[in-house]
Every structure is written in structure tokens, then in C-alpha cells.
């Protein structure tokens, strides 16, 4: 199913056409067609097992790491294809970053965590690394809390701080798109509110795609929402439209809690 994009036609950052994801020959998701609008927040909602996380992970080629996984269809980032012979997934992942559900900082110092992506990318200039680390931590609203202890272990931070650290780590490599897989589901309400506020601020500069099982969060945070069910994209629209007058009865049933 191809999506109904907003008639104001904001520039799409990611265009997905006929995307299918299969595990050992069994189709899990798709075919999906979707335009992710640049510098806005798009939320993917749906019940457990509907394929929203699988879809998200196929946007930065993380699904390939699972043995037996095959991807069909195309995904284009600003017109450049992401899949294809000779296209390096490593390069794609530098342009499309990811933040995971459970924060997963490396057992290194705070500074080394944020600098990791830069170092493996080949950056050697210590001063530039420091600048980028600071900028990333400022962007993820963590700088004030850690600026005096950059060389402390990252494992000493609280859950919410660790998640913001993981966001800073992803931002340090300056991706164009940020994928977030249920980033706040392991956090308490106040830490969640911080993350949501952060997402608001980030969307001014980055294109954010967030998977969430919390519909109210999608309603609060996202400009556009896509509803997935049983591996299919059922409806995609502006969030305020989808939550007040959805076009598809399955969407209506899900968001009003009428699912069996």
C-alpha cells in the first residue's frame, strides 16, 4: 500500500517502495510504500509483532545482520539507493543512525562512548573530537550534567542519562536521519518526558523516525504517524488527522482500543 502524503508535499527524505522483509523465506513485513518527510518526526505504531521494528531496522540495513533475512524493494535516501550491489552498509549507517530500546552504552568513559563513532570513522584530531563530543552532548541535553566528569565510566549514569548518552553517541557522527526504536519504553515518566522534549528539539535539524507502542507518545511527539498491522502498512497520515478521523477502520479500532 502506498502512503497518502500530505498535500503540502514537504520534501521526502526517505522514499520506500515495495519494501519486503523475509526471514528464511517467510515474509514478515511488506510490501510497504512510504515517504518519510525530512526534518519532521514520523512515528510507527501498531500492536506487538506488527513489523514496525523490523521495518525500522531495514532503513539502516540492520536487518541484514540476522541470518536468513532477505530484503526486497527499494529505499532511497535523498534519492540515493540504500540497497544494491556495491553499496556499503557501513556508509549507510553513518548517514542513518539508530538509538535502541534499552540504552546500551559501551563500558568505556562518557567521552569515549560519544567519540566511538568518530574514531572508528578515522577521525584522529583530538581537538576536533572534543568539539564534536561537546556538541553532541549539548544537543542531547546531557552536557551540563556530565561536563565535569567526561572521563568517568558511562555505566555510572542513570537510565535516562544513559539513553541520552546513546543519543549523543549517535548524533556525534552527524547522521541525516535518526531512527529510534522505542527509546523511552525502559524509562520512568519524567525521563520519558525529557526524551520527548529532546526529540522535539532534534526534529528541527534531523529527520526522526520513532517506533513506539505508546500511542499517546506518538500523538505527543510525531508530526506524521504510520500504523502497521500484521506486517502491513495500514495507514499513514499527519498525526492530528490520524488520531481524530482515521480513514481505515482497522486504524480506528486499534487507536480507540477496540482490538480483540
Amino acid at each position: 500500500m502506498t502512503a497518502n502524503t500530505d498535500s503540502e508535499a514537504k520534501r521526502p527524505k526517505l522514499t520506500v517502495r515495495e519494501l519486503t522483509v523475509s526471514y528464511s523465506g517467510k515474509k514478515a513485513v511488506g510490501p510497504v510504500g512510504l515517504d518519510i518527510v525530512g526534518q519532521h518526526v514520523t512515528a510507527l505504531i501498531g500492536p506487538s509483532g506488527c513489523g514496525k521494528s523490523t521495518f525500522l531496522r531495514s532503513l539502516n540495513r540492520m536487518n541484514e545482520l540476522i541470518p536468513g533475512c532477505t530484503i526486497g524493494g527499494t529505499v532511497h535516501l535523498d534519492g540515493d539507493p540504500i540497497y544494491g550491489p556495491g553499496i556499503d552498509p557501513v556508509a549507510i549507517r553513518r548517514r542513518i543512525g539508530m538509538v535502541f530500546q534499552r540504552s546500551n552504552p559501551f563500558p568505556k568513559t562518557i567521552k569515549e562512548n560519544v567519540a566511538y563513532g568518530l574514531r572508528i570513522g578515522g577521525m584522529k584530531d583530538a581537538r576536533e573530537i572534543e568539539t564534536r563530543v561537546e556538541r553532541a552532548l549539548v544537543q542531547s541535553a546531557l552536557w551540563d550534567e556530565v561536563k565535569d566528569r567526561l572521563n568517568d565510566s558511562a555505566m555510572g549514569l542513570s537510565g535516562g542519562q544513559q539513553q541520552r548518552l546513546c543519543i549523543a553517541r549517535a548524533l556525534a557522527v552527524e547522521p541525516e536521519v535518526l531512527l529510534m526504536d522505542e527509546p523511552a519504553s525502559a524509562l520512568d515518566p519524567i525521563a520519558t518526558a525529557h526524551i520527548e522534549e529532546l526529540i522535539n528539539e532534534l526534529s528541527a535539524e534531523y529527520t526522526v523516525v520513532i517506533v513506539t507502542h505508546n500511542m499517546q507518545q506518538a500523538a505527543r511527539v510525531a508530526d506524521y504517524t504510520a500504523f502497521f498491522y500484521l506486517g502491513e502498512l495500514v495507514e499513514f497520515d499527519r498525526t492530528d488527522v490520524l488520531f481524530t478521523k482515521p480513514s481505515n477502520s482497522r486504524t480506528e479500532d486499534y487507536i480507540t482500543g477496540r482490538f480483540g
Binding site: F243, T256, G257, G260
Partner: protein, 232 residues
């Protein structure tokens, strides 16, 4: 039979029950308003001041229902964070209640004029007024049915029927004018009758509002104030 908005029920049965109770309350309020309209006109035709007094007292129950339903809606909004059709139903219910309460007040106003009129001999046989009242009452009944059944067509038909009510009013007013011009002693009674007609006409306007609400609730399209919005 009270039908749900969609064929399926909420997974949370308590929520489903709350919505059902809300519908019942709305219907009860609507029935009471219908009663007030019919009783108020009957008290005019039958010159029954006792009935008029009773009807005025009955309005108190309507006011209480308005408060109860508003409270109920607030609770549902706070606890359930409704979206889509549920959200439209709830916001419509809040507005519906306001319209119904106003209709009740207008019914009281009619009764107050009736009490004034019953102190004097009738000006003329009452033909048009009861017909107008019957039409308005039927419209209200139809509107509430449309609301409960979530029937857009019926809702839209109500909006067109309002033209008849307006026509009634114009006719009654012209006739009363002639009576007033004939003999100044008729003015007191004529003006009271004209007020009653005006009240009925305004009840009709409120019923039209209900029709527009039904359309919004079902289709999500706001059709109020057509032709009366500012540009830009």
C-alpha cells in the same frame, strides 16, 4: 436499542460501559426536553396552569442532568484519553448537552408566557402553534435518533427541515400583527403568543445544531456556520 458507534466493542469493558451510560444519559435528557416542549404547548391549548407549573419544575431535572453529563464526560476524557470516533463522540456530547439545556430553558419560557395568557380569554383558536410545536418535537426526536444511530443522512435532513419551522414563525408573526393592528387590546396576548412562537423557532435552531453535530461526529467534518465564516 442503543447502537455503538462501530460494530466492535472496546477491549476495556469498563470503558465500553461508561460510554454506554453516557449515551443513556443523553437520551434521557433528550426525552425530558421533548416532554417539556409537548407539555408546554399542551398547557397553552388546554389552558392548564398547573401543568405549566409542573413543567417549569421539571426543568430542574434537566439542569441537573447537564451537570452530571458534563462531569461524566470530563472523567472519561481524563481517564481514557479518547481518540478518533470516541473523541468526536465525547466533544459532541458536551455540546449536545448545552443545546438540550437551552431547549429546556426555552420550554420554561413558553410556560411562563402560558401562565400569563391563561389569566385572560384566548385570543384565537390555536392551530399553527401546536402544529409548529409538534414539528419541532418531531425534529428533536429525529435528531436524537440520528445521534444514537450515528446516521448522517438523518442528521442532514434535520438541517433542511428547519426551513419549515422558520416558515411557521413568519406566518404566525404576520397573523398576530394583523390582530395587534386591529385592536390595541389584543397587543398583550398577541405579543405573548409571538414570544412563544419565537421560543419554538429558537428551539428549532438548536435542533439544527444537533443535526450538524451528528454530521461532525460521524464524518469528522465540521459543517457549522456555513457561509458565515470570515475569509483568510
Amino acid at each position: 436499542m442503543i447502537k455503538a458507534n462501530t460494530a466492535r466493542e472496546h477491549t476495556n469493558r469498563e470503558y465500553e460501559g461508561e460510554l454506554r451510560r453516557l449515551r443513556e444519559q443523553l437520551l434521557m435528557m433528550g426525552a425530558k426536553v421533548e416532554d417539556i416542549i409537548s407539555c408546554s404547548i399542551r398547557s397553552l391549548v388546554d389552558r392548564d396552569s398547573a401543568l405549566a407549573d409542573q413543567t417549569i419544575a421539571a426543568d430542574r431535572k434537566i439542569n441537573q442532568l447537564e451537570i452530571d453529563i458534563d462531569e461524566h464526560c470530563m472523567q472519561i476524557l481524563a481517564r481514557r484519553q479518547p481518540v478518533a470516533s470516541d473523541l468526536r463522540f465525547l466533544t459532541t456530547a458536551l455540546k449536545l448537552v448545552t443545546d438540550l439545556e437551552r431547549m429546556g430553558d426555552l420550554g420554561v419560557n413558553i410556560c411562563e408566557r402560558v401562565l400569563e395568557l391563561n389569566g385572560e380569554p384566548p385570543l384565537k383558536p390555536y392551530v399553527d402553534l401546536p402544529n409548529m410545536a409538534r414539528d419541532v418535537q418531531e425534529m428533536l426526536h429525529e435528531a436524537l435518533d440520528a445521534f444514537v444511530a450515528a446516521d448522517v443522512e438523518r442528521g442532514q435532513r434535520i438541517i433542511t427541515r428547519d426551513k419549515n419551522i422558520d416558515a411557521y414563525y413568519t406566518q404566525i408573526f404576520r397573523e398576530l400583527l394583523t390582530y395587534m393592528m386591529e385592536d390595541p387590546r389584543n397587543i398583550f396576548r398577541a405579543t405573548r403568543l409571538q414570544s412563544i412562537a419565537k421560543y419554538l423557532e429558537r428551539i428549532g435552531d438548536h435542533v439544527t445544531n444537533v443535526g450538524e453535530l451528528v454530521v461532525f461526529m460521524v464524518k469528522g467534518k465540521d459543517i457549522r456556520h456555513v457561509g458565515k465564516l470570515s475569509d483568510g
